[in-house]
């Protein structure tokens, strides 16, 4: 994304090119997020008694409890196992999300806020130059 990179560095470049690239990018992101939402991501508690499945958007889709494991659990332990299974499913979703983002950006995930390339420009405007 040549124009995106130019603008990100604070350089004025071809606006039409930038809009074309960002449009394409927005479409790719929407598509990837849409596909992710259709996926089912599963997780289970450590004993494997409770299994949870969440959608790619994080919505709980199925929760199954293996009756054989129930004998070893009282009501408090069962509640904890359910919670653990859901957390595990969300963690699987997080991993999948990171993967999707990495595929999109073709670079390792990076969430550091880049320095504002317009800091100098804004300082000049405020100083009145």
């Amino acid at each position: 994304m040549r124009h995106v990179d130019a603008f990100s560095a604070g350089r004025l470049d071809d606006v039409a090119g930038l809009l074309r690239e960002t449009d394409g990018w927005a479409r790719a992101v929407t598509e990837a997020v849409g596909e992710l939402e259709e996926e089912r991501l599963a997780g289970a508690d450590p004993s494997g008694t409770v299994r949870a499945e969440v959608s790619g958007a994080g919505r709980l889709r199925t929760l199954s409890i293996d009756p054989r494991g129930l004998r070893a659990l009282d009501h408090v332990q069962l509640a904890r196992a359910v919670r653990e299974a859901i957390v595990a499913a969300h963690l699987a979703m997080d991993e999948r999300l990171t993967e999707v983002v990495q595929t999109l950006t073709r670079r390792p995930s990076d969430t550091t806020v880049p320095a504002d390339p317009l800091a100098g420009h804004i300082r000049d405007v405020l100083r009145g130059e």
Partner: protein, 280 residues
């Protein structure tokens, strides 16, 4: 009125006012009749600076949210494009007023000259000077000044259009950031959880399409004004033809001056014949 002395003419161009000065309007006798104060340079009311001052913190939190979303690379570029395209509407307002003043001044000066010829000179004098002056007023001053006035009017109109568009764009960008920044900030705060992260990605996507639309609209407006300015440039090229030989400044200016003979005391009797002398 005729005293035997040729009237002193104050020609437009000789008293070009510079900013913040007084302009003396003299009658044919050279006595100052009224004084016009040329408005001092307008000062920027500081809208643009205030806009940037208030926008910048909103930009910073929006940029942070974009980066956290992991897919912010294009949104960050749009942020730069949207901010760089913000303009100071005062610049266009100032030019609009300048062209308007110029148009008024041109018309005023043209009228003054026209009236002083037909009120003071043509009823009272005969001789070559009257003809030379009539030629000068009719062909050199009247036609050229009207053309210059027309271009100034259109320039003022174009500048007003630009002023309005720049102001609207500035306010739209500010409005977009003012509404999106708090939402993006709170969604970004929840993004430690994967569900929050998906929500943030969606919000950044929405912000991106809104900013992209704004930039696109502004680019369209910009292009249409380019067209208007191009038409004005063509008109200015036409005017060049009136002022320069073959319309080419390199070939020198056309001679639009009055003949100096008109003020030559030796030729006064040919040039300035009072109407009353003939009658007596």
């Amino acid at each position: 009125m005729p005293t035997g002395e040729p009237p002193k003419l104050v020609l437009p161009g000789q008293t070009a006012p510079t900013a913040n000065q007084q302009l003396h309007i003299a009658n044919a006798g050279g006595t100052v009749q009224r004084t016009v104060t040329v408005a001092p340079k307008r000062t920027d009311p500081g809208f643009y600076k205030r806009l940037i001052t208030q926008l910048n913190p909103l930009r910073q939190s929006t940029r942070a949210a974009m980066a956290i979303s992991g897919i912010g690379v294009a949104a960050l570029a749009l942020d730069v494009a949207a901010t760089l395209n913000l303009g100071n509407p005062f610049l266009f307002y100032d030019r609009r007023e300048q062209w308007k003043e110029m148009s008024g001044l041109l018309e005023g000066t043209r009228s003054d000259l026209w009236r002083s010829y037909f009120d003071d000179i043509s009823p009272n004098w005969k001789g070559d000077a009257v003809e030379k002056l009539q030629e000068y007023v009719r062909f050199n001053v009247n036609g050229l000044y009207s053309q210059l006035g027309k271009v100034s009017d259109e320039m003022s109109g174009a500048m007003h259009g630009q002023y309005k568009e720049v102001l609207e764009y500035d306010l739209s960008v500010f409005g977009l950031y003012a509404t999106s920044a708090p939402m993006l900030r709170s969604v970004a705060a929840m993004s430690a959880h994967p569900v929050g992260k998906v929500a943030l990605m969606t919000q950044v996507g929405l912000f991106m399409s809104a900013t992209g639309n704004l930039i696109k609209q502004f680019a369209d407006v910009y292009n249409s004004y380019e067209g208007d300015l191009n038409k004005l440039e063509l008109k200015l090229n036409d005017l060049r033809g009136a002022f320069f030989r073959s319309g080419n400044p390199a070939m020198g200016a056309r001679d639009l001056h009055l003949t100096p003979n008109i003020e030559d005391p030796a030729m006064m009797d040919d040039y300035w014949v009072p109407v009353s002398r003939d009658a007596s």
